[in-house]
Amino acid sequence: MSIRHQTKANKEGQGEKPHLDFFLFLPHLLDLFSLLHSTMGLWSVRSRLAHHLGQKMAYLGALQRRSWPLVSFLQLWNPRPSELVGGLSSNPINRCSDRRFASIKAETSAAAMDDRCRYQVMDFPGGKVMFIPEMRFLAESPGERISCYRVLDDDGQTISGSSFQEVSKEIALKMYSDMVTLQIMDTIFYEAQRQGRISFYLTSIGEEAINVASAAALTINDIVFPQYREPGVLLWRGFTLQEFANQCFGNKSDYGKGRQMPIHYGSNRLNYFTVSSPIATQIPHAVGAAYSLKMDKKHACAVTYFGDGGTSEGDFHAALNFAAVMEVPIIFFCRNNGWAISTPTTEQFRSDGAVIRGQAYGLRSIRVDGNDALAVYSAVHAAREMAIRESRPILVEALTYRVGHHSTSDDSTKYRPVDEIEHWRTARDPVSRYRKWIERNGWLCDDAESELRSNVRKELLHAIQVAEKMEKPPLAELFTDVYDQVPSNLHEQERLLRETIKQHNGDYPPEVPV
């Protein structure tokens, strides 16, 4: 699998941007810098480094090439910390550790006070910090949002200058097929709920790329802790349409023995932990599992998914902090789809999404276009490598849009404009965007496409019929699994229940087996 490099990326309004090779190069530069700092004089190294960086960072406008006292060098980094990719801030021996001590205004008045502050370093618990006599607050936002990694444009063309993980034709086609299956599954199950055949359903429309592409970049040994909008991950791993239907209908073949609402899928065999309703509780669970993987020295990581709303929960913060401290192999995948039921992200947080928080906890993070299957695939692939090889947590924020309602209990047209929903459903559909790319590669033709859709539809309708007709779980399953062994009081209750049923047979529903 190769990574394709191209020449400079080209974003409007920006000059040269740091790109992948710089990303890899910088930590080594800084290692060199720090090492030389401690041994030789500071000046020569800094000038060389700063000159190199000056070329890269010219667009910041913060450059002062006259002299390079340490403080102004540090201020070089301040105004646009968002533009600095991973290596810098995560380098533990970076002496410029506290680069964020200046406000946006720092660039202009910097040089004057530099001489006084040179080499003045204070020692506190947690390490050395530079100090300055000027009081400056960090701005509440970095000024510019963290940029978003993208490979395919809206037309399914790879963007020139993009680098991404290559996919084989087989994987690419399976990804497409699973994304289509997920779309059809969502449509049909949603209708089934509306017809009263199942009690509840929750769609993943608009997030098919996130679901399937992220799953494709993982291996079966990676343990998945989902929120509830990730059935595509289970689909990729091999959960059949019949198994999905069984859970939704709560019949006797349901692995959950009819105990949970629809869409609360789970499969030990496929390393997908059962969906649990409370928001964000799965995030610290995943860290615990990642810690266990580390203790067992397995070549695998934990992956947990959550939405933008989930990042407000206390569990999110505790888990990210913990994962960084314990240095565990985990990928935190945030599906920022703009809405938490009716709460838009503007009312959810005031930070720049979830990605910016990664750095606050000491995590390497990336923002990616969630509707771009190749970008999601590449990012998760790279994240997994880093997580396992370096035993560290990685945060991936995928920007997307929740096209469907929150669930069948919600009507989102009440709180957002219908044309906005339609725009995202059609013009920004991740499945059709990806299809265009596959078609360009000559891997798919129209006939295959419609054949796929009608096959899936037929199979799913059949699965639903079978699931609907199947018996419900027997009465004994009401009392099992509360504990490992059924306790005596539950045996007693079951006995009493059966007696009651015998005495009042007419009151007991006939379709539930005793």
Binding site: G266, S276, P284, G288, Y291, M295, N321, V482
Partner: protein, 377 residues
């Protein structure tokens, strides 16, 4: 009487080593256990009992690990985990950041995966910040996943009132956790209880809430040779008759067992022979033993430290009414803490927690030796 548990042992099997080897393994902590083993009962504090239980279980099963605030370097906030970090290393004794919700969630996640974590709360009052994970993520998961995901986790720490620590450090959570199906709730009294029940809890495949008591940590109790064995285990769900009697049954758990025994001594001088039942297990409650005792004595006094409403005593009373109503010769008397957040001032605190005299008076009321409380109103 103190039988080895009949429940299945999850991991490994434990042979019965000779006593000398057992003593070596326990690593006495400046201990009072001599090397030569005589037939006289040895004494052990509850703290030593818990420490030895943790040590033995961690040594027997590499999946067992301990996590909590201050459990490692600090040797435990109450020194229960003394020496464990040194012996097992930081991978198995984890000092956590201050986030009960965080580390409880992480412990549950590790249990989902298959490890056997022991999560320590500095007191159970702080478990409130993690109770969602205890109830929704631990207790219910085996059921909701239909047996696919088991949660062999132990939550332990001091519960109930200490001395002069105020409202947010003194609440008893026995009733809170015993309310939840899917959890097992244990509360030891003596050192033998502590050892046997903690070992049982660690070996149990279900989530267990283990309620200790800070004031009991330093108390010494005699322990039998059997209890010192590393395979020693007490059955979950069995109460112990600490003192046999025939006039009135007194149920209690944790610290209140000591108070009940003192009350029984006082009562015996007045001709009332009280039977003291140490519940040991709040969920499942040993209804059989309690009912058998009440059928013998016909009178019941329930004692607990926690708040009265919806408390453990209320459940015991209901169990008697359901199964042994005709055997009662007097209304059930319930002794509990005062229905107020625990005050700090020493005189007020003394009045907010049951004292030995309260138990004596209640037993006398149950035996009609004094005017019943309702009639005195």
């Amino acid at each position: 009487m103190w039988g080895v548990a009949r429940q299945k042992v999850g991991f490994g099997s434990f042979s019965s080593p000779i006593l000398g080897q057992v003593l070596q393994r326990i690593r006495p902590l400046g201990s009072i256990l001599p090397k030569n083993y005589s037939s006289a009962p040895k004494e052990m504090t509850v703290r030593e009992a818990l420490n030895s239980a943790l040590d033995e279980e961690m040594s027997a099963d590499p999946k067992v690990f301990l996590m909590g605030e201050e459990v490692g370097e600090y040797q435990g906030a109450y020194k229960i985990s003394k020496g464990l970090l040194e012996k097992y290393g930081p991978e198995r004794v984890l000092d956590t950041p201050i986030t009960e919700a965080g580390f409880t969630g992480i412990g549950v996640g590790a249990a989902y995966y298959g490890l056997r974590p022991i999560v320590e709360f500095m007191t159970f009052n702080f478990s409130m910040q993690a109770i969602d994970h205890i109830v929704n993520s631990a207790a219910k998961t085996n059921y909701m996943s239909a047996g696919q995901i088991s949660v062999p986790i132990v939550f332990r720490g001091p519960n109930g009132a200490a001395a002069g620590v105020g409202a947010q450090h003194s609440q008893c959570y026995a009733a809170w956790y015993a309310h939840v199906p899917g959890l097992k709730v244990l509360s030891p009294y003596s050192s033998e209880d502590a050892r046997g029940l903690l070992k049982a809890a660690i070996r149990d495949p279900d989530p267990v809430v283990f309620l200790e008591n800070e004031l009991l940590y330093g108390e010494s109790f005699p322990v039998s040779a059997e209890a010192l064995d590393s395979s020693f285990c007490l059955p979950i769900g069995k109460a112990k008759i600490e003192r046999e009697g025939k006039h009135v049954s007194i149920t209690a758990f944790s610290k209140m067992v000591g108070y009940a025994l003192q009350a029984a001594e006082i009562l015996s001088k007045e001709g009332i022979d009280a039977e003291v039942i140490n519940l040991r297990s709040i969920r499942p409650l040993d209804r059989a033993t309690i009912n058998a005792s009440v059928r013998k004595t016909n009178r019941l006094v329930t004692v607990e430290e926690g708040f009265p409403q919806h408390g453990v005593g209320a459940e015991i009373c209901m169990s008697i009414i359901e199964d042994s109503f005709e055997y009662l010769d007097a209304p059930v008397e319930r002794i509990a803490g005062a229905d107020v957040p625990m005050p700090y001032a020493a005189n007020l605190e003394r009045m907010a927690v049951p004292q030995v005299d309260d138990i004596v008076r209640a037993a006398k009321r149950a035996c009609y030796r004094s005017v019943p409380m309702a009639a005195a109103a």
